[in-house]
Subunit: 766 residues, 2 copies
């Protein structure tokens, strides 16, 4: 164990992104790791030019039919009946013609190599047809048919056959088990959905065909337009990474909207998303937030850190905005596509009615937003033309008798305030306020590169005003709460994008060894004895090598030795069980605090021996560790890492101590972290406020913890053999940090080095 | 101070609800207390038969005009042009006729005593006109005009004149400064809003005219119908209590919807709401959630407990459902009006598509809902007719090829499961699923008294199905998330209603003194020395009288005395500053823990004296208290009370210790509490899980804390002189509870007994 092949492998797979690398040892690794769906879709092809799918000059439909209500019939009709002007070739064994068009017996019988083949035949015929398509140099295949891996081993074997056919051929494949795809701008509807949506600027990628159908049906009422719609199915070949890269370059796409059930190949998604998110908003709704796996965990970190939090961390890290509802999914795509990004969190609310302004403020602050403070200049400017009773604060209530002139003037002043990062303009229909004229004023504002949102409240009375606003790309909400929440989501999106700007870390094998000191001796010692749980002393030794300060901890195997150690360290001391099998020492009576003299140490030693033998077993007791009792006033923190099925190792930070699972005050991040990322991670906890508020030099606490988190992250990145690691409590005092307890669990010998989990984020991505 | 006139007064005002009681000492009390708007509207009249407002046979409009766009013109037109069939008399000094109807010079000149007078004349003319109305025996007046107390003292004087006119006359008054009122079922629109909404079963009470206008405009598109709409304005006379009582009895009203800016007279609202909520759902949106007053507080309880949490507690306590957005306000009124209340929190989700089912589950669990577990019988029944691949769990996914027969059958099975309290039926348009036929099946289900909600996803394809569902009172949501959230709100509403069922407490003067032991000696002692802050020893003495166990605490005024006390108590001990001025002892270095011997006690005494003298003043140091160092393992809790401007004393309970303001893990409730209410209050905190999980007999911890909360509530109810009181930490161990520290702040002598705040909840209300 003196080398780390995993790290090398990871870099290779992800930097070359070649078929070859993955099909070597990677393939094996992938199978063993994919407990849920992670990596179940290995890389097959890597070109992300998917234009044959979305702008084909010719399409073949294999399995075409005129049987009413069938999938094959609906697709052919959608292609013939729409505005699609390319060639469409129905392929059917049984028919000479369909809907007045000639039919062909096979792909091979077509007069040309089609750009896109859509296959709707039974699953067992699909591998043969795919092979024909490859032979005929069709470069894009959509397999609508179901009946593959979701049906068991026989179906999985069919998938493997398909994979072998396309491998290295340059032909790409979407599906199987999907709804198909659409490009409304050229009238292309290669799905069996009944509705072709309007053309627009949103690319919609859905992992559920049924949901896509429902949303397309709904979108017609909402006047939503799409640049593309694609149902990804099982992602045998084309996956998130390909689609994100393609839509990132697609000039018709301004924002990308994703319905996700599971991420599958997380590095591919993260890598592509990081590149595309800097250019175009990516908004995702990820189902299954509540389906936390019940993890069998030896640590608080493991018990508390759900895989959904890993999704949160991953999306945040790659600049993707996660939302909570389908409505928000499309509203935010619209808003982010139309309006500039806020450069800060401070919203100003302008209103002609008090109540709606307060409701918007409530919604903003409940979503942890920030209400802008009006600058003195702004207040002065507003005083110069507003009636004396105006609110003199944000929300700027310009009163019920405001006309368009007053409204427009106030809006320009609000937008110009340097302490405002965006404006929500609210209008309630009132006597003197003409919703249309005010909207005209809003149209001609100078927004100075700041986002502007509107809520024209009401129905018919504000309808024309709303149209005016929409026509000049100002998103309009029925209720002010939704506008305020949207601004806060815009700011969250901006913040996520900041993560992309973190400079690269040097975490690769070329880095000198002092950044990744080996722990092989400790690991070997444990594994060779059949242990995956390190003792407290071993765990602290590991931390020590990564410059994480630990409390002095001495082993004692009898009463006399315990007293000797205690006197070396100085009273008062703590005695803790030393065991190779017990993970939760205090639960078996294995901890005695604040021992002030020889006699107390002696008694504590015996008490631990007795209690542990009683509540666990005699072999569980292997002596005690003796540690000085730390009486400094301080904060108890927790730092940990646990391996997630989808994302590899995760970092967790938060409030520690015994009540850690009660408060669940913690933040989760993907390693590796920079100092900035570590600070941002800390700032998502409540305990952060206490760290900042520590007496003495305030910056010391925060900086020291951030530096420790970076070291901890390096440890986790460098040591994939670690399955769980936790420091709890990490005591933070004005004098510094001290790990009072630590536990580490390893992957056992049944997991060879090259099958250890890899981190989802890699050096080039950070 | 050996009697408690406040308690007597409170009971009198609220039980007799007479003019007389309030106009005596109550009037003075009210004025001094009303820091914001609380009690600024004293009771003037008490009959809550408001039928002259909502079903008048004749109406006079004083200030009628034909000037286009004016309020007076719009109201007259709304009355003449609508379907209202009663008599309408325009009253104007300047016109002979209006819109072809004869005009009258004054109320006195009318041919009959009208049921309702609507006044839209300038503020300074209103008192005279009101007096005329009273003379003419008009029993209901709406004052639309603005320009009263919101304009300053002159306006307030006009209000006082009006109040004198109507007092004792039997005439009731809505407004001033309001939009007016509507009763769509008789075509009555006595407002200046442009839209008359549809007739329906929702009574809408708004504290903002502008918001009401916007909502009415919006409601037309949403096909919302109203039994009444009323804008309450300044609530000079008719207030929440009157309107709630009236709509509670109104047979046309099935649910009551409120937009509230401030509660004003909280006992009147709470008392009426408690009675009505048992009969009809009351849904409220309260603006200003984020406007927590920055309270100058001597305790954590004071610093943390915002008045918005008091609103939450009050609404919960009186069975009112509080929602977060205007959309939810009306949806919930609709849902609660149409569907039975769930008898438990367990929702079953039935779906023909996986993704939407997962989204609904996410939304349910994020709102702290409960997904039902299918009973074995239900699973067996479903197995008997569903295809083998169905989900075999909740959500019940009956797969994309489900027809109406399968859907209907599964729905009936789901509804019949005794472990299910309600069902959300989801449909996504798919090949074999006809949304209309499935809706027909849903229509004929037997819901067994359980709520049934639906989400028919999509647009045109599901439109007819949605209509079918709506026609049989099944609420339909566009997205399944909203349906799940609605069910959770229904359950919260049911839970709130449980509070109403708590039996009455005997908190009145007839109760024997042992339930309300006096503390007058301690209070007098402090007040006579000009102190409102009690010392720790005094505070603990107060707790002691109310059976709250406190740690033994001895005063020591010199080193020798400290040592003597320490040896009496036994080492180790704690020394704390004894001071009549310092509230935060640890901030001035006034706490020394874990002192093991004479020498340590001596040094600690000197250190406290030195540090306090340095960081506070020499007079701040008056010796120390000596207490045993409690080393038992336990939980640190906090129990406190603070007086709120709107609601009087509040109770707070939560996690205590030094990080109390970091975690803010607490629940707020209005006193008095029963044991059940105390338990429910505790269950809203995180620390509750830790209390339940305490080793030993689990019930002891929870029951002991609940009993202590009841004692504490009795103390707060009985001792209105207490402004703030806090026990922190309250140590909970398996051996019991112990208050380790306590602080009490009193109302000073400038507040006489009869001006002390009264609790919002009174005995008869509990």
């Amino acid at each position: 164990m003196n080398h780390h092949p995993r790290a090398t492998l990871t870099v290779e797979i992800l930097t070359t992104q070649s078929v070859a690398a993955a099909s070597l040892s990677g393939e094996r690794m992938i199978t063993s790791l994919a407990k849920t769906t992670r990596l179940s879709t290995p890389y097959v092809n890597r070109e992300s030019d998917l234009s044959n799918f979305f702008a084909p000059a010719s399409i073949a439909v294999v399995g075409a039919t005129d049987r009413d209500g069938s999938v094959g019939c609906t697709i052919v009709r959608n292609l013939f009946d729409g505005k699609y002007t390319g060639k469409v070739y129905p392929v059917s064994l049984h028919r000479e013609q369909l809907f007045g068009h000639p039919c062909f017996k096979s792909i091979g019988a077509l007069p040309e190599a089609v750009d896109l083949a859509v296959i709707v035949t039974p699953a067992d015929t699909v591998p043969g047809i795919v092979a024909e398509c490859v032979d005929a140099k069709s470069r894009a295949i959509v397999v609508i048919s179901a009946g593959f891996k979701e049906k068991g081993p026989a179906g999985a074997e069919l998938e493997a056959e398909i994979r072998r056919s396309i491998q290295g051929s340059g032909t790409r494949l979407i599906g199987p088990n999907c709804l198909g795809l659409m490009n409304p701008s050229i009238g292309l509807n290669a799905t069996f959905a009944g509705v072709t949506p309007q053309s627009g600027s949103v690319a919609f990628v859905s992992q559920s065909g049924a949901l896509a159908t429902a949303i397309l049906d709904w979108s017609a009422n909402e006047h939503l337009g799409f640049s593309a719609v694609v149902s990804v199915g099982s992602m045998l070949d084309v996956g998130w990474g390909d689609l994100l890269s393609f839509f990132g370059k697609d000039p018709n796409t301004q924002s990308i909207v994703i319905y996700m059930e599971s991420i599958g190949d997380s590095p591919s998604f993260l890598s592509a998303a990081r590149k595309v998110a800097a250019l175009k908003p990516i908004v995702v709704i990820k189902a299954g937030r509540s389906q936390e796996g019940s993890r069998a965990a030896a640590s608080h970190t493991g018990a508390m850190t759900g895989s959904d939090e890993a999704y949160d961390a991953a999306f945040r890290r790659c600049g993707v905005l996660r939302v909570q509802s389908i409505g928000e999914l499309f509203h935010m795509a619209d808003v982010l596509g139309k309006q500039p990004r806020p450069r800060g969190p401070r919203l100003t609310i302008l209103t002609n009615a008090g109540g709606p302004g307060v409701l918007a403020t409530d919604a903003l602050l409940q979503n942890h937003g920030v209400l802008a403070s009006l600058s003195a200049d702004t207040e002065k400017a507003l005083n110069s033309f507003l009636p004396p009773h105006w609110s003199h604060a944000n929300p700027i209530d310009i009163l019920g008798d405001a006309d368009a002139e007053r409204y427009g003037h106030a809006l320009n002043v609000a937008l110009a305030d340097p302490e405002t990062d965006g404006v929500l303009a609210i209008l309630a229909p009132q006597g003197m306020t003409d919703p249309r004229l005010v909207a005209e004023r809003v149209r001609t504002r100078d927004a100075l590169g700041k986002p502007l949102l509107a809520s024209w409240m009401g129905g018919v009375e504000v309808a024309i005003g709303r149209q005016t606003l929409q026509s000049c790309n100002v998103p309009v909400f029925s209720f002010p709460e939704d506008g305020a929440r949207a601004f806060q989501l815009m700011w969250r999106h901006s913040e996520n994008l900041h993560s992309l700007e973190e400079g690269p870390l040097s975490i690769d094998d070329k880095t000198s060894n002092h950044l990744r000191p080996p722990i092989d001796d400790i690991v070997m010692q444990a594994l060779s004895h059949g242990r995956t749980l390190l003792t407290e002393i071993e765990s602290k030794a590991v931390l020590d090598r990564y410059s994480i300060p630990t409390v002095r901890t001495r082993l004692a195997k009898c009463e006399t030795e315990a007293i000797t150690r205690a006197e070396e360290l100085g009273y008062p001391v703590v005695l803790k069980l030393h065991s190779e099998t017990v993970t939760h020492k205090s639960r078996v009576g294995g901890v005695r605090l604040n021992l002030a003299n020889r006699e107390q140490v002696r008694r504590a030693y015996c008490a631990i021996a007795d209690e542990v033998t009683l509540s666990a077993s005699s072999s569980a007791f292997m002596g005690v560790t003796v540690q000085p009792m730390i009486q400094a006033e301080g904060l108890e923190l927790i730092v940990g890492s646990v391996v997630d099925d989808q994302f590899g190792p995760l970092l967790a930070f938060g409030a520690g101590g015994k009540l850690v699972e009660i408060y669940r005050d913690r933040a989760v991040e993907l390693p590796p972290v920079t100092t900035n990322l570590a600070r941002r991670m800390m700032s998502r906890t409540n305990i952060f406020r206490a760290i900042k508020g520590m007496r003495g030099n305030k910056a010391i606490g925060v900086n020291a913890v951030a530096a420790l988190l970076v070291n901890f992250s390096n440890l986790v990145m460098a040591q994939p053999r670690i399955r769980e690691i936790e420091i709890n409590p990490l005591l933070a005092t004005v004098d510094g940090l001290l790990a009072l307890d630590a536990r580490i669990v390893l992957f056992g010998r049944e997991t060879p080095d090259d099958q250890l989990p890899r981190p989802a984020m890699v050096a080039g991505d950070v």
